[in-house]
Amino acid sequence: MLCFSLAFAQEKNEVEKRIKKEDVPRQAKDWLNDAYENKRKTKWYFQTDGDEKAFEAKLKHEKHLHSVEFDMNGKVRNIEVLIDKNELDEEVRKVISNYLNTSYTKFSISKIQIQYTGEGDDLEDVIDEDEFENITISYEIEFYGKTDTEDELWEALFDAEGILIKKRIVNLKATDNLDY
């Protein structure tokens, strides 16, 4: 597990900007309207992380913040839903807690998102039918973790069973204007 995580450790340097609805591909807006049945308060963003480019819609649905990612053509890629620690599936929580407890001397979770990946029609069913057929579930967790040699903020991806797939360091912005 440790080798695995070391091999996949990289850094996160995401850039995001707010865009107008008009700048979003038609296909993305259509998919969102079908799945979320014309939700009005949607904010659109354009995101880049190195070579990776995406459109992202953020909206509230059933008291949770949803982030829906689309490729440059407007094809839906995945849905991320922000959840509380206590909303995590009991079995998954045990496996993730076990990983954190054994890998870090000190840790604290700051953000948990369930990620649903699949085809457009299947992703639509997740939202409007509560069906999870042909859907890959994973968990994106941001946490502070300290070991004897590392002391960082991490973003890690765990699979449906709670096994670590990959993790990367989240670079915090300079604090000079807050400290002096």
Partner: protein, 220 residues
């Protein structure tokens, strides 16, 4: 502006009002993974003082501070600094030692910096001035949910200062609002207003100071 300032000072005879220009610049660089150094220069230039009889705009170099800090990061969120300041001021130049703890608090899209600082100022013929300060500064992106290069942000801060010199003590408050330009993580520029009030515990006296502030934060 003079008109507004004039009416301000007319409200209470004992209130003193000062307006001026306050540029500052800081330079930070890492010594190692954990240790870093910051140099800062800040300067206050008075343009108006209600205590002056003619009450006209007139320039006065109030003071210039030269500061140097050495800091150690204890986690991504906690940093401890010790610093030294040399103040150039009419009358007497002073030395100040500074100790501070900075704590970064992150929220969904904004961030807050907590700064707890104590400092000691040494004078030639006057007793030691001791101050304890707490500052809270929020930084909110104005374009999107995260602050990316080339974007602007809003910074709001408030600092409360308790000071004591021999047996006389006082309180000072500093409230500042500024517009920030985040060129990239190594270059930031802030322009705004810093409103300071003090002499809270001094009878029949109260002082307002409004500074037009510009600041550049550079790291290597």
């Amino acid at each position: 502006m003079v008109c507004i300032l004039g009416s301000f000072s007319a409200q209470a005879q004992s209130d003193r009002f000062i307006f001026g220009f306050f540029p500052e610049a800081s330079l930070s660089y890492k010594l190692s993974e954990k240790y870093s150094v910051t140099h800062k220069v800040e300067s206050q230039h008075g343009l108006y003082d209600s205590n002056n009889l003619n009450e006209e705009l007139e320039y006065e170099h109030s003071l210039t501070d030269l500061q140097s800090f050495i800091g150690r990061r204890f986690s991504p969120f906690v940093k401890v600094d010790i610093g030294y300041q040399y103040r150039i001021e009419e009358g007497e130049n002073t030395h100040r030692t500074i100790q501070q703890v900075s704590i970064l608090q992150r929220a969904s899209f904004y961030r807050i910096g907590h700064r707890i600082r104590i400092d000691e100022t040494f004078f030639k013929d006057a007793p030691l001035l001791f101050r304890a300060r707490y500052r809270l500064k929020g930084q909110i992106p104005l374009q999107g949910l995260s602050l990316d290069p080339g974007e602007k942000y809003l910074a709001v801060s408030n600092e409360l200062i308790y000071m004591i010199q021999s047996s006389e003590d006082d309180l000072e408050n500093r409230f500042a609002v500024s517009l920030g330009f985040y060129f990239d993580d190594k270059n930031k520029f802030e322009v705004g207003l810093d409103y300071r009030t003090d002499d809270y515990l001094v009878e029949d006296k109260f002082r307002h100071r409004l500074w037009f502030k510009i600041g550049y934060y550079k790291s290597l």
